[in-house]
Amino acid sequence: MRRAARLIVSLPAVLALVGARPKQLTGQATTNRPIVVASKPFGESYLLCEMFAQLLESRGYTVERKPGLGATEIAFRALRSGAIDVYPEYTGTGLVAVLHDSLSDSVAADARAVFSHVAREFEQRYGLRWLPPLGFQNTYAIAVTRKTADRYNLRTLSDLARESPHLTAGFTADFIGRSDGLVGLSRVYGIHPRGVRPLAPAVKYQALAAGAVDVIDGYSTDGLLAKYDLITLVDDRHFFPPYEAAALVRSDFARRQPGAIATLTLLSDKLDEMTMRRLNRRVEVDGADVKTVAADELTALGLVSAGTARYGQRETSSESAAGFASYLWGRRATLATLTVRHLELVAIALLAAVLIAIPLGLLLERGRAVAEPVIGGLGVLQTIPSIALLAFMIPLLGVGVVPALVALWLYALYPIARGTYSGVRDADPDAVAAAEALGTTPMQRLMWVRLPLAAPVIMAGVRTAAVITVGAATLAAFIGAGGLGEPIVAGLALADTRMILSGALPAALLALVVDGVLAIVERAVAPAHRRTALWRKR
């Protein structure tokens, strides 16, 4: 009662604070909805996203961050659907991966011409606006170790084409499939490696350094190129289009929030390639915190006054177990929040799945002719990779918690429906037949005989679904739903093993705990005669 009273008293104050803050500072922010700033899942994109966010915050805007939201396809769809408002994109990517346009060689080689073309087409086709470029290009860089370069005498991509039958490539899945990636390289240069391994961005450089692959794709501003002393091969036929970085926003957002657009445009032409490589190196190689690096640079550029944007601590990169433990301890509050969010996602998806799949299983038992096709259909859903399923959700449901819940729910349906159907179908046929012959109604047979006997099988299905859901929920972070996947996604992008583990270990632990708790429930719902058998242990 007292608490409620206090809430009511303080509510107007809170509202005043929330409503007034942007107005006081800028005089033009008109909505309480935060500006949603997102990025693709790699270090530079994180950094630019953070710089956008801090810059906007310094001018009084409320910002929601969705760093590492997803690759081009996901980020682009999220922007179009209005789920996010801005993310950093590259003109070359827009040209090739989104527009699928091919320009004449003279135009394609000219960065300004490409920018005008992409800007015009995006406005017309998608209602999206490219803000003026940030000042650097981040094109693809095909890299080899110094040793490989010396041994095969490699300097250009034409050299690589000559030697490619002797070399194994480790490329990101993205690069392998794109026409401005391996497909085009093979066509234009005749590059045909002996083998091509799809590698996650986080492990590419390690794989190259360890000699597991000979050639990798990177970005020309990658900090890791310098760390591993790699040779970038010259694009002597100008195959790669210009990749100028710029903020990409929705046109209607630009019209509604001219102040925010003006703020973001402050960064235009401020970041050159040298600067970007230095910043990336701090994040990727030195392990500095993205927020710190962003704040430092914004301060150095004079866009934010010193001291106003001070985030986080620079992190030490101790590799010892004690170092990891203290790292986890230092992040305990964050991890607790992420764990709670993770559990919320799992609990809601699982509960919804139980509420639908158990009645569905019972219904199918009554109509067995359609049972196998329906359950088989649910089974097919299981074979869709989680990341693909999450991507399908974006045009329908945007990004965030809702599409993640729907995807997790779809995954949980199969084991529960299957367990219910076969559990009820196979429940002691003699007992069911006798109960029928003695005058029980179908509902009585279900409630008295079949369901109690099927309970352990149903619970086994629920347990399986729960463990699957705990695992799949880590991928929800890719579409901005949060949870323990957040440090995993960020760690993958930043090649930070410790950060990956800080999400992966709690997630694994959570799976064990959830399974253990449900094992107790399973024992509790076991039919009476089995329970006694269990206690007595025969």
Partner: protein, 249 residues
């Protein structure tokens, strides 16, 4: 007064197989009839017509002079005792609750007392066996419980489908004796399916020999032995002679 059982010109097919081909039998109120024959002869199908587990395509089936088709199936079944080969006890219910099933369905206020009485009749006192689970009993005891369950609500008809078929010889003989006493004591009309001629001779007043959905011969076992109507009946009797001799002496 127990009910009689009558089937007239009953015909039933499963796919292309004729299970009952124009079969007629009648069981006088309070008497016992055994249906014998090999697997697939149609004896179980005929038995199941009386509680509408099988709905024949043609013909009339009467219990206590009333056509079963005109009746609601649920109360019909609650009024007829039923025992199957594998007792079909509900495994997570204790013995007393299993036996109280039909009285409970009929909303009897003293369902547990009725179940206790029935258990007493089959030689399993409730205070000793009532709180056990089926899996804690022997096979013979489980069939006794199934028998108790079928008579707990005092039905005037009882249908038995190979009730002792899965038991060892000693349990089987014990149970046959118990059942014979029980049905006379309760004065219940009995229809029994068995492939064991000795069992039929011991428990039934009349025996019906079935083959391929038709009746080969019906009458007291004594008459079947002395005057088999068909060669099939004669062969059946010949095979079972050793076990029948003591009974008919």
């Amino acid at each position: 007064m127990p009910s009689s059982l009558v089937a007239r010109n009953v015909f039933q097919r499963f796919g292309n197989v004729v299970a009952l081909d124009d079969v007629s039998i009648d069981v006088a109120a309070g008497s016992a009839t055994a249906l014998v024959g090999e697997s697939g002869s149609g004896k179980t199908t005929l038995l199941r017509c009386f509680n509408r587990l099988t709905e024949p395509e043609r013909g009339e089936v009467l219990v206590g002079d009333r056509d079963v088709r005109g009746q609601d199936v649920i109360p019909l079944r609650r009024g007829i005792g039923y025992v199957q080969q594998h007792g079909g006890l509900i495994p997570h219910w204790r013995v007393l609750r299993n036996v109280a099933l039909v009285p409970t369905l009929l909303s009897a206020t003293d369902a547990d007392a009725k179940a206790g009485d029935a258990l007493e009749l089959v030689g399993l006192p409730a205070d000793q066996f009532g709180s056990r689970f089926p899996h804690e009993l022997s096979g013979g005891q489980r069939q006794r419980v199934a028998l108790a369950r079928s008579v707990a609500a005092k039905p005037d008809v009882i249908l038995l489908d190979e009730p002792f078929g899965a038991l060892d010889a000693i349990s089987r003989a014990d149970l046959q004796t118990s059942f014979d006493q029980l049905r006379r004591q309760l004065n219940v009309t009995t229809l029994l399916v068995t492939h064991d001629l000795a069992e039929a001779a011991r428990l039934a007043d009349d025996v019906v020999v079935m083959r391929s959905g038709k009746i080969e011969q019906r009458g007291p076992m004594r008459r079947l032995v002395s005057a088999p109507a068909t060669e099939y009946v004669a062969r059946l009797i010949e095979q079972a002679r050793a076990s029948l001799e003591g009974l008919l002496a």
